[in-house]
């Protein structure tokens, strides 16, 4: 029982409090890193999609204008 209590006391000791704080800090850094990763990938994918579709629609509209010119002068 004492051992168990000792263990409990140990678990609440300063070293464990420090390691818990360190773990929390690592977790928080990992969470921030993951969140930054998600933001960066979203920004990259969104930018590529927007540029890609703008190029696509501009070329399609140009092609239609060319055809209309050929048809009606």
């Amino acid at each position: 029982m004492d051992r168990i209590l000792g263990l409990e006391v140990k678990m609440d000791g300063p070293e464990n409090t420090q390691s818990a704080a360190a773990r929390a800090s690592v977790d928080s850094k990992a969470g921030r890193g993951s969140s930054r990763d998600k933001s960066a990938s979203a920004a990259l994918a969104s930018a590529v999609i927007i540029v890609g579709f703008v190029v696509y629609w501009v070329s399609e509209i140009d092609a239609v204008r060319e055809m209309l010119k050929l048809a009606y002068g």
Partner: protein, 192 residues
């Protein structure tokens, strides 16, 4: 001990995009396109293909379902992206708008894909030769990948924590993708 790759999601997104561009510009695309012809011929011989070709009423019914589900899908995209950009429902928390929209998006997307496969079976050879069909498939694939692997993971924990500029960028990209899916779909209807 191997060190973890920094920004794994961003790196894999960049690799996937680079792979897509390489595929679009290389000879592989042409070879792949040619190899798909037997598959499209087979699609017309399936029960769906025969039903779609022989019974105009069945095709029209499924097309109506396709258009209605597309309208629901467009509605969910419009509402959630407009909220993301801060245009509508400003006094409602973003995730409170996104969650029901996402559930409805899942249902309507399933219906759109199922009815779309049926319709494609009926006119498989026609759509195979239509350039705009392939643009639609590309936009659809991009829209699905973007919705489930970029937009959802970014916004699910807390959309309020994401900077407004990024939310706007994501909203515009999502709107453009689904607008292209809908517009190219109509284009297929007017072609041939």
């Amino acid at each position: 001990m191997p060190t973890a790759l920094p920004f794994p999601r961003t790196v894999s997104t960049a690799l996937l995009l680079a792979l897509g561009v390489y595929f679009a510009l290389s000879e592989i695309r042409i070879e792949w396109y040619a190899s798909l012809r037997p598959f499209f011929e087979w699609m017309e011989t399936t029960a769906f293909g025969r039903l779609g070709k022989s019974y105009g009423g069945a095709f029209a019914l499924v097309q109506a379902m396709h258009l209605l589900s597309m309208a629901v899908l467009g509605g969910t995209v419009l509402v959630s992206d407009a909220r993301l950009m801060g245009i509508v429902l400003k006094n409602v928390p973003i995730n409170q708008v996104l969650e029901p929209c996402h559930r409805l998006f899942n249902c309507s997307l399933s219906l759109v894909v199922l009815s779309g496969v049926f319709m494609a079976c009926g006119v498989a050879i026609k759509v195979y030769y239509l350039e705009v069909f392939w643009y639609k498939m590309l936009a659809l694939a991009m829209g699905v990948l973007f919705a489930y692997f970029v937009r959802r993971p970014l916004l699910k924990p807390s959309a309020e924590a994401v900077p407004q500029r990024l939310r706007t960028l994501v909203g515009v990209a999502s709107l453009m993708t689904w607008f292209t899916v809908a517009a190219t779909g109509r284009w297929i209807g007017f072609s041939g």
